[in-house]
Amino acid sequence: MKFSFTEEQALFRDIVRRFVVEQSPREEVRKVMETNAGYDPALWQRLCESLGLHALHIPEKYGGQGFGAVELCIAMEELGRGLVCSPLFGSSVLAGTAILEAGMAQDRELWLPPLAASERRYALAVDEGGGCWDAKSLTMQYTQQGDTYSLSGKKTFVVDGCSADVIVVAAREPETKGLNGITFFMVEASAPGVNRRLLDTVDQTRKLAEIDFNNASAKLLGTPGEGGSALERTIDLCRVYLSNEMVGGAQRLLEDAVTYAGTRLQFGRTIGSFQAIKHKCADLLLHVELAKSAAYCAAEAAATGDPEFSALAALSKAMAADTYVKTAAQTIQIHGGIGFTWENDTHLYFKRAKSSETLFGQPAWHRERMLRGWQI
């Protein structure tokens, strides 16, 4: 990719897709989403063992697979398509990327191997309210006494925060603002002063936590005060991963809508033979394909260190979110009454679409960021 996948990548996609179809059918999703943990440890174990997804983008020297952003995006797209509930996004993608971007060599050596061995799960705590994960508006300050650090304050929208073993926390040096002074820490979830609470979110397929830190002991990750651009890049990367997850979900919804419209008979015809439905589906296809192009392009930019990367991350996030939400709403509409029932799967995607729309910042905010990224 940028504009086409290699044969190896296409093969990898097929493997992930087959795994998802076989191992995480939607009945499984429904079962798991009702649990507090929000994932099935046995399934997760198989995902790690069979596909190594948990360590896909972790360099080989830390025990990972050593693949790049494009492959991770492919995996995200396929998991999004299947609405797979797993710690991949919270632990490997969010926290793993933060460690890769912010950590120094010794930090990576310390923290990445347990992740790559799927011995421990991490989570990334950045946002403090609102859900934009905007590095500049972070306010939590750390306290330093000699070589020891501690954190107090509240983080929220922590993906899989309740089930993680270690929390990667972004805080700032007292008296700093903007990107200056931002510093990463590792906090054991079991440490005194760490209180976690599952947020009551409508999207049961992605568990979010609010975490209170009360003078919790923290280990430094990376250089104090120098984590600002690593944080920005981490979140931008995760925006791109999320965009690819979203286009996977949108594509699946479109297929569901087309299939349903092709079988549902009303007035003696399949409803898919009515232009009202048919043209809606054609329009969705257009937008899903445009959103895919944007997500793939951003994936490539992530992999190649494109100077426009941040703008493209914003672009892909805005486009994927608008498309996923629109596709989900229209898929409900095409299903009619049945689409509004709990029994039909469409609402699971609708809720994921809505929660993804605002996670890491909503479309209008990203459109503005995109223009600024291009100096417009």
Partner: protein, 420 residues
């Protein structure tokens, strides 16, 4: 049936008579059913109904005066809530004398509750394509099939059932309208959970359920025109229903009975305000989020308000035309479609304002999860009661007079029509 104007009382005399009667008879310690039976017998419960059936053939002006007098006196009226009034309207127009006599009293007293058994999993937009079957066997009909979207089915005693009795004629001509007893072994009611977590509707399964022969309303195989009466009354009654929920309170056992009845009736509808998108909450939410001066949010709010106000004014135009006795213009057919637009726009603005918190439910979310409930309820508005697509068809064909699509399903025996 319009009564002779000469026989009508003048409004002031009428009000006095009602009040005098209430002063003599109203007693908040009476049982609710007993009171309503008394009131129904006077004709003042439903004064616009025919004289022979609990009414006085009054025009709506006088009927409203009676209602007003009862309400301002603090007394309770007859049971006019819920699907029962659809049943009443249908029976008054199409029922036999025996049916009216059997059912209307229990409707007004509130003893009986009703449900409407029209929609099926396989026939939503295409209602006339339903496949629940009624087969005549000796002295009864035997019902098999499944209905869906049945509000109140779990507590109703009676159901208005539309079922297919002839499969060899075109679809609209083989349907019969029945009154079915819901409390019988062959009827199973299961709640149907929606994507917003509520279960306002039911699925109803018929397995060899029994309907006596005298429970056919209208003609055998003539059920479509009976059902059209029910459907035509649906919107009007829905309005009345909502008005009803908010009325009387007082001291005395009768008010407790009424409150319990109201709770039961309103239960399925409690998320309906959120279904409409709650544009009324947008500005306060924007202020609370400190986004009310954000130019982009303001454009979205302004667009929403323009849509909402224009819709309200359009509805007002329709009402005024109706009051002035003018023919209905296009403005009267557009309310449902306009409501979809308003609700969707409102949900978008709420998302924009609430950001990441929009999807948090319960205490974690803005307004104790109400915003999340809006987002999960709005998708219903463009589906329930006729999808937006069907509304577009109706408006184009009936209001704009545009040509119909060629149809292949209306002039052939139903059994030959492809269906799920």
């Amino acid at each position: 049936m319009a009564s002779n104007a000469a026989e009508l009382p003048d409004e002031q005399t009428l009000r006095t008579n009602v009040r005098m009667w209430l002063e003599r008879n109203w007693d908040p310690d009476r049982k609710l059913v007993e009171w309503r039976r008394m009131l129904a017998e006077t004709g003042w419960g439903c004064p616009e109904w025919p004289e022979e059936w609990f009414g006085l053939d009054y025009p709506s002006s006088l009927a409203n005066a009676v209602q007003d007098e009862i309400a301002s006196f603090g007394a309770i009226g007859v049971a006019r809530s819920g699907v029962r009034m659809l049943a009443a309207a249908t029976l008054l127009e199409h029922g036999s004398a025996a049916q009216k006599s059997q059912f209307l009293g229990g409707i007004l007293s509130g003893e009986d509750t009703w449900c409407q058994l029209f929609s099926e999993p396989g026939s939503g937009s295409d209602l006339a394509g339903l496949t629940t079957r009624a087969d005549k066997q000796g002295d009864h009909w035997r019902i098999n099939g499944q209905k869906v979207w049945t509000t109140s089915a779990h507590h109703a005693n009676y159901g208005m059932l539309l079922a297919r009795t002839d499969w060899d004629v075109p679809k609209h001509r083989g349907l019969t309208f029945f009154v079915v007893d819901m409390k019988q072994p062959g009827v199973e009611v299961r709640p149907l959970k929606q994507m917003n977590g509520y279960a306002s509707f039911n699925e109803v399964f018929f397995t060899d359920a029994i309907v006596p022969l005298d429970r056919v309303v209208g003609e055998r195989d003539g059920g479509w025109s009976v059902a059209l009466t029910t459907l035509a009354n649906e919107r009007r009654v829905a309005d009345g229903m909502r008005a009803w929920g908010s009325v009387q309170a007082g001291t005395g056992g009768i008010f407790e009975e009424l409150a319990a009845e109201t709770r039961t009736v309103n239960e399925p509808y409690k998320w309906y305000p959120q279904r409409a998108g709650r544009p009324d909450l947008v500005i306060s939410q924007a202020r609370a989020a400190d986004l009310d001066q954000d130019p982009v949010v303001r454009q979205a709010i302004a667009n929403l308000l323009i849509l909402e106000k224009s819709s309200q004014w359009t509805a007002r135009r329709a009402r005024e035309a109706h009051l002035l006795g003018r023919p209905q213009g296009p403005e009267g057919s557009l309310g449902k479609l306009a409501a979809s637009h308003v609700a969707r726009a409102a949900a978008e603005v709420h998302t924009m304002i609430a950001g990441g918190e929009a999807l948090l439910a319960g205490k974690d979310g803005p307004l104790d999860g109400l915003i999340a409930e809006i987002l999960l309820s709005v998708p219903a508005i463009s589906i329930a009661g006729g999808t937006d697509e069907i509304q577009h068809n109706i408006i184009a064909e009936r209001v704009l007079g545009m040509p119909k699509e060629p149809r292949t399903d209306v002039d052939r025996p139903f059994k030959d029509i492809p269906r799920n």
